[in-house]
């Protein structure tokens, strides 16, 4: 079952904002990285939980308005995540001064079908997430904790 919720604990949310704010003060520029944790948790396996983030260098030509995770760094990081028994949940990037929602560029260039694309907006104080279906971004409910009932 494809999850509809993304659990982002407060401590992880803080690390996302910390990284995003570093980008605001440096250019500004978009920052990016990988979300790792557990897929399919909760009573109905309807949530993914992010337990850690991994910063990856943005190698886009215009980091002010674009992001591209460094390929070699991404591969090494994914392999490390998997070796530690965690799942790759998806990826995050920041919008330094625009709203946290997918742009036309995000949709045109999404390639990881089934994975989460998360956008952090430090100006909106927002973390939002979508799952790329292969055709569109489906919005996810970002919560602090999985339901325990």
């Amino acid at each position: 079952m494809t999850s509809s919720r993304l659990v982002v604990p407060p401590t992880v949310r803080a690390t996302l904002f910390s990284h995003a704010r570093a980008g605001v003060g440096d250019g500004p520029r978009e920052v990016c990285g990988i979300l790792a944790g557990e897929r399919g948790i909760g009573d109905d396996d309807d949530a993914d939980r992010v337990t850690e983030i991994h910063r990856v260098t943005n190698v886009a030509d215009t980091p002010r308005v674009a992001y591209e995770l460094d390929p070699a760094e991404t591969l090494a990081t994914i392999e490390t995540i998997e070796e530690t028994g965690k799942d790759v949940i998806g990826f995050y990037h920041s919008h330094p001064d625009t709203p946290a929602r997918p742009s036309a560029a995000d949709e045109a260039q999404a390639t990881w079908t089934g994975y989460v694309y998360c956008i952090v907006s430090p100006t909106e104080d927002a973390v939002r997430a979508w799952r790329w279906t292969g055709e569109r971004f489906d919005a996810l409910d970002v919560v602090d904790a999985a339901d325990t009932a």
Binding site: Y67, L75, I78, T98, A105, D106, W112
Partner: protein, 77 residues
Amino acid sequence: MDVTVEVVGEERHEVSVGSEGTYADLLAAVDLSPHEVSVLVDGRPVPEDQRVETDHVKVLRLIKGGSASSPDGSESR
């Protein structure tokens, strides 16, 4: 030569290329565009037009995109 093409996060493919085959030929065989992936050998990206010299490559779908507007509010894409 026979090459294992491992698409990271997806499946492996076994592809045969001629002695002058390039990494772009491998991508074409698995229906991937060079514009949307990076081919890595021993963890390092290789040019797609380079001749294949290994029997195992990893293909990473690129993760990229960006915000819609430039600082003055105009569309940049």
